[in-house]
């Protein structure tokens, strides 16, 4: 009997450093499957963020560059402008993309840069140990909002998909999650669509993936899935926010 399920070719054999119950690994797999299925590994350049996915290049066996915190969209712009034939994706966390790199992502999207961004929103800074992110929920406790996010002081969590979808330039902007199989199938379709739009040189594409951080949320993996579904997804509603004509 042939194999019906195997590891994507572009994924290496390395064990990931992600915590149990973290969905970074699932998102990696979906991106890897997409690269395999589209047959683009030999012309793909990934850009790793600063954040928990800082060493994403250990898991993807394709060319990679490593960005400074938040600057991946500017690097991707540089690569695409000089080598439009390359397939470029950035993989960024919410602190990376919505805080320090807010300017870079908005302007790259507004210029209609033809690369793809995988935006992993876990409502917290994972790598540095659970500080407040621009995406942290109201009243959510983090190490820098120990009494809960006070929106009177720091505003409401930023909805990046909605914000970017407000730009006039054509783009594909969608929000997905991967906490359960029923969502994973949709997320996979969206990621593949995003890469396809790039392949066809049609538009900037961004897939926001609502993800878990059980470690810094102080939850078990099961509780993290429940909190994502009952709280995060109520505020960060999945769906397509912008689709090119």
């Amino acid at each position: 009997m042939g194999k019906t399920f195997k590891k994507p070719d572009v994924l290496t054999d390395a064990y990931t450093h992600y915590c149990p119950g973290c969905t970074h690994g699932v998102i990696h797999r979906l991106v890897a499957e997409t690269i395999d299925e589209l047959g683009i590994r030999g012309r793909t350049v990934g850009i790793a963020p600063v954040g928990c996915a800082v060493m994403a290049y250990n898991y993807f066996d394709c060319d990679f560059q490593e960005a400074a915190h938040g600057r991946a969209p500017a690097m991707a712009t540089g690569i695409k402008r000089v080598r439009p034939d390359l397939m470029v994706f950035t993989y960024q966390g919410d602190g990376d993309l919505a805080s320090i790199g807010m300017g870079e992502i908005i302007h790259a999207a507004n210029r209609g840069e033809k690369f793809t961004t995988i935006f992993v929103n876990n409502a917290i800074y994972g790598m540095t140990g659970g500080q407040m992110a621009p995406t942290t929920m109201p009243d959510q406790r983090t190490t820098t909002s120990p009494l809960g996010r006070n929106v009177a002081e720091v505003g409401m969590p930023i909805k990046m998909a909605e914000l970017l979808a407000a730009l006039q330039t054509p783009a594909y902007i969608t929000r997905q999650t991967v906490i359960k199989p029923k969502y994973i199938t949709k997320a996979k379709k969206a990621i593949k669509q995003a890469f396809t739009y790039q392949m066809e040189n049609r538009c900037f594409s961004l897939v926001e993936v609502v993800s878990t951080c059980p470690t810094n949320w102080g939850m078990t993996p099961v509780e993290a899935v429940e909190w994502t579904e009952n709280t995060l997804l109520k505020y960060y509603q999945p769906g397509d926010y912008k689709v090119p004509a």
């Binding site: 590994r41 030999g42 012309r43 793909t44 350049v45 850009i47 790793a48 800082v54 060493m55 290049y57 066996d61 394709c62 060319d63 990679f64 560059q65 490593e66 960005a67 400074a68 600057r71 500017a74 690097m75 991707a76 712009t77 540089g78 690569i79 402008r81 000089v82 080598r83 034939d85 390359l86 300017g103 870079e104 302007h107």
Partner: protein, 359 residues
């Protein structure tokens, strides 16, 4: 090729094209915005890339991405803009990618002014970004030299896989002079396939390339810094440049000066010569590596009693000059930094005061 009259900033843009660099990312700032205004027209004519980024921060990373993907790339800016690019410069140096930065300096600190200055000497030569990183820094004294240095910068950046900076002052950018673009300085980009993220298919390779500056293992990070140090030592051995002026005779005073300031010093030296007073000058053309031997040798002449570092900054290069001379002769600074450039007459009076033993 015949000489043509060009403004420094435009000549810098043209020189990059003539050198074989067709990728330019930039953000406007006085006194160098003419480079972008020139290249936005010129790049399409040669099939090149021009993009105005949203900030100098972004421009730094556009350069990093493009350089990491194996392209020849450059930008131009002025002091506050270079400060914003310094984050990217550190990453580019750490990841060992070639890129060329032109800094047409204006007065600082802070917003400072828009007139010429040499106030970024320390920033360019000592502390351009966080970590143990250095740039190869070249300082032109004329539009012609700016052209040649820009053209030399690309192969040097590729030779060392390191950022290179042309440190010019606002006058170099704004003045018009006749220039010639030397054909022999046009070079082919070196083979990037060994390290660039330019696509496995593109280089016909089964193994991927990584462009990164993260080394969590302390031994690996130390090794990366040792590799960087070895490059900087190689720059010291192979690519240090300086020009001497009037150092054949016996001079009681030696000037050390670079860029536009050195031209004023030359005029002062010629005027003093007419009065029968000999003054020598060493003009560093690379600020890092600093021409230590040239300065030390010129100051070692038995007749030499005083060394003056003449700068359009508040005494920055003087520390390097002092370091080369190691106390054998008194080293002093003279300069201004606000946009006013010391005149030949001022330099003459400073020189005469030293000879007369006055303060």
């Amino acid at each position: 090729m015949a000489k043509i009259l060009m403004k420094g900033n435009e000549a810098i843009g043209e020189a990059a094209i003539r050198a074989g660099c067709l990728n330019y990312f930039a953000y406007p700032i006085t006194p160098q915005s003419e480079v972008a205004e020139y290249l936005v027209r010129r790049m399409p004519e040669v099939g090149g890339v021009f993009l105005q980024g949203e900030s100098e921060v972004a421009v730094g990373y556009m350069l990093f991405g493009a350089a990491g993907a194996g392209a020849r790339v450059f930008t131009t800016s002025s002091s506050p803009g270079i400060s914003l690019m310094s984050e990217a410069i550190s990453y580019i140096a750490g990841a060992q990618c070639p890129a060329v930065f032109v800094n047409i300096m204006r007065g600082g600190p802070g917003l400072g002014g828009i007139l010429p200055s040499q106030g970024d000497y320390f920033q360019a030569t000592k502390g351009i970004g966080h970590g143990d990183c250095r740039l190869l820094v070249m300082a032109p004294a004329s539009v012609q030299e700016a052209v040649e240095m820009v053209m030399m910068a690309f192969p040097l950046a590729e030779k060392y896989r390191n950022p290179v900076m042309i440190l010019g002052d606002g006058l170099i950018g704004q003045m018009m002079e006749p220039v010639e673009f030397p054909d022999h300085l046009k070079t082919e980009p070196s083979n990037k396939d060994a390290w660039a993220s330019n696509g496995m298919d593109h280089r016909g390779s089964k193994t991927r390339n990584l462009v990164k500056s993260l080394f969590l293992d302390p031994v690996q990070l130390n090794d990366n810094n040792l590799a960087l140090k070895a490059k900087y030592e190689r720059m010291r051995a192979e690519d240090v440049r300086s020009a001497a002026y009037n150092i054949d005779g016996d001079y009681p005073v030696l000037l050390v000066s670079y860029g536009t300031m050195s031209r004023v010093c030359r005029t002062a030296i010629d005027m003093l010569k007419d009065e029968g007073i000999e003054v020598g000058m060493i003009r560093p053309q690379t600020l890092f590596p600093f021409p230590e031997k040239a300065v030390a040798d010129a100051a070692a002449k038995p007749s030499c009693r005083h060394v003056l570092s003449i700068e359009m900054s508040m005494g920055q290069m003087v520390e390097d000059v002092d370091r080369c001379i190691r106390g054998r002769v008194p080293v002093e600074w003279y300069g201004k930094c606000g946009g006013d450039i010391p005149t030949p007459e001022e330099i003459i009076s400073v020189v005469k005061a030293r000879i007369a033993g006055k303060e």
